[in-house]
C-alpha cells in the first residue's frame, strides 16, 4: 500500500454519524438511497425521528430479518423495510403533498455535483444513450424544508464535486443548505461555500484544494 492511499478524513459511516448529530429529535426525515440511508444507524440515543419514504410510508423502521420481508412493504429503493408502531400508509399524491407542501423537515441526498449557489445535480450524467430516470429527487429538493447532501468530497477520479457551476443536468436550483463530506461540513451561503467544520486531521488548505470554488473560512 502506498503512502498516498492512507485514508484522509471521515469514512462513510463516520460521515453519516456526523450528520446524524445535527438532526433534532421529533424531525420528519427523508433519507435518500446510498450513504444517506446510513444516517439512521447513528441517531443519538434518546432522539426520535420519523422516517418518510416517498412510496407511501411515514414511520419506516429498519430492515426485517432475512426471509421476513414483505414484498408490499418496501422503501423508495424498493428494499424490504418494516413499519414502526404509529406508522401510517398513504398514496403517492398525499406522499408528495407532504414533500412539496413543506411538511417534511429534512431530506438527505447523495450528489454528483453541488454548486456554490446550492444547485444540485444527482440524477443524470446526460450521457447519450443513458436511460433517464428521475424518481422523486426533483420534488424532494423543491419542497422539503432543509436539504442536506452527504457525499465524498471528490469523485473516484479526484475531481471536485463541490463546484462553481454544475456541468451535469440539474435536479434543482439553489436547493442545498449544507454538505457533509469525508473532509468537511460545509454550508451553502449567499456568499458561496463556507466551511463549518473540518474532519479530524484535515486542514483548510487541503479542503480548498479539492473544492471547485472558493471556500470561506470557519466563522467563530
Amino acid at each position: 500500500m502506498s503512502e498516498q492511499s492512507v485514508v484522509v478524513g471521515r469514512t462513510r459511516d463516520e460521515m453519516a454519524k456526523r450528520l446524524a448529530q445535527d438532526i433534532p429529535s421529533g424531525s420528519y426525515v427523508n433519507l435518500g438511497i446510498g450513504i444517506p440511508e446510513l444516517v439512521a444507524k447513528f441517531v443519538p440515543d434518546g432522539r426520535t425521528l420519523i422516517y418518510h419514504t416517498e412510496n407511501g410510508l411515514l414511520g419506516m423502521g429498519p430492515s426485517p430479518e432475512p426471509g421476513e420481508g414483505d414484498p408490499e412493504l418496501i422503501n423508495a429503493g424498493k428494499r424490504h423495510v418494516t413499519a414502526i408502531p404509529g406508522a401510517a400508509f398513504f398514496h403517492h399524491a398525499d406522499s408528495f403533498a407532504m414533500i412539496r407542501g413543506g411538511h417534511i423537515d429534512l431530506c438527505v441526498l447523495g450528489a454528483m455535483q453541488v454548486s456554490k449557489d446550492g444547485d444540485l445535480a444527482n440524477w443524470s450524467t446526460g450521457a447519450p444513450g443513458a436511460i433517464p430516470a428521475v424518481g422523486g429527487a426533483m420534488d424532494l429538493v423543491a419542497g422539503v424544508k432543509s436539504v442536506y447532501v452527504i457525499t465524498q468530497h471528490c469523485t473516484k477520479h479526484g475531481d471536485p464535486k463541490l463546484v462553481d457551476s454544475c456541468t451535469f443536468p440539474l435536479t434543482g436550483r439553489k436547493v442545498i443548505d449544507r454538505i457533509y463530506t469525508d473532509l468537511a461540513v460545509i454550508d451553502v451561503t449567499p456568499d458561496g461555500f463556507r466551511a463549518v467544520e473540518l474532519s479530524p486531521g484535515v486542514d483548510f488548505e487541503y479542503v480548498q484544494e479539492r473544492t471547485g470554488a472558493p471556500l470561506l473560512p470557519i466563522q467563530n
Binding site: E54, N55, P71, R100, S124, I131, A133, D139, L170
Partner: protein, 236 residues
C-alpha cells in the same frame, strides 16, 4: 343491485382498445397488478400509452407488456430497473417513447386529472432539463411550472380487499398510485385478493370509494415480480 365484480381478469380487460391510455399502478413490484397486465397481453390491445412509475422487472408483468411491443409511449418517473433490459432496448431502438416526469409531479398530474383539474403549478423541476418547453409563472417571488392533469381510458390497480360496490382497501406500500389512478381513469379495474359483500369493510377504513371503481376481480394468491423473475419466468 350494483355488482361490479367481474369473474375473470380476461373479462375485466376485454374492451381495452388499440391506442387506449392505460394507467398501471405499482411502485416496483408493490401494487403491480400482474394478473391484469398478463390478461391485457393475452387480449392483444396495442399502440397503448401507459402511465406507470416504473417499467417492470425481468420479462414479466409490465416489462412483458413492453416486450410484447404493445406500448407506443410510457409516461414514467423511473424507467430503469437493475434486472431488466426490456425498456432500455425499446427506448434506444425508438420503439417506445418516454415522457419522463418527476415522481411527485406524476402523482399530482394523476390526482388532478381525477379531480377535474386540467393544470396546476409546481416548484419541482424548475431550472432543470425537465422544465424545457413548460410555461412558468412566479407566485410570491418563487418560480413554478405549469403541469397538466392526466386522465386515462383504463386503470389497472391492485388492492387487497374490495366489496361488490367497488370500495377498496390496499396493502401497506402497495397502495402507492392506486387511489389517484382509480380517480383519473374512466374505467378503473381493480384486482384484489378477496371480494366481499357490501358492509363487510368498515366505511371508516375504505381508501378508494366505489364511485371511482368500475370493475373488481378476485385474484387470490397474486404473483409477485421478484418471485417470477427469480424462477426465471417470462410471459407469455
Amino acid at each position: 343491485m350494483i355488482n361490479k365484480q367481474i369473474q375473470s381478469a380476461a373479462d375485466a380487460v376485454a374492451d381495452v382498445f388499440d391506442g387506449a391510455v392505460v394507467m398501471i399502478g405499482g411502485f416496483g413490484e408493490a401494487g403491480s397488478p400482474i394478473e391484469l397486465i398478463h390478461a391485457l397481453i393475452d387480449q392483444g390491445a396495442s399502440n397503448l400509452t401507459v402511465v406507470s412509475n416504473n417499467t417492470g422487472s425481468g420479462e414479466v408483468g409490465l416489462a412483458a407488456l413492453l416486450k410484447a411491443e404493445r406500448v407506443a409511449k410510457i409516461i414514467c418517473s423511473f424507467p430503469r430497473t437493475a434486472n431488466s433490459t426490456v425498456f432500455p432496448d425499446l427506448y434506444r431502438s425508438g420503439k417506445t417513447q418516454l415522457e419522463l416526469v418527476p415522481q411527485g409531479t406524476l402523482a399530482e398530474r394523476i390526482r388532478a386529472g381525477g379531480a377535474g383539474i386540467p393544470g396546476f403549478y409546481t416548484p419541482a423541476a424548475v431550472g432543470t432539463p425537465l422544465s424545457e418547453g413548460k410555461e412558468s409563472r412566479e407566485f410570491d417571488g418563487q418560480e413554478y411550472l405549469l403541469e397538466r392533469g392526466l386522465t386515462a381510458d383504463f386503470a389497472l390497480i391492485k388492492g387487497r380487499i374490495a366489496d361488490t360496490f367497488g370500495n377498496v382497501i390496499y396493502n401497506k406500500t402497495a397502495r402507492n398510485f392506486g387511489p389517484p389512478m382509480a380517480m383519473a381513469a374512466k374505467c378503473a379495474i381493480v384486482q384484489v385478493d378477496e371480494v366481499v359483500e357490501p358492509g363487510q369493510i368498515d366505511p371508516e377504513h375504505i381508501v378508494t370509494p366505489g364511485i371511482f371503481v368500475s370493475r373488481v376481480v378476485g385474484v387470490s394468491n397474486p404473483a409477485f415480480e421478484s418471485e417470477l423473475v427469480a424462477a426465471g419466468e417470462s410471459y407469455p
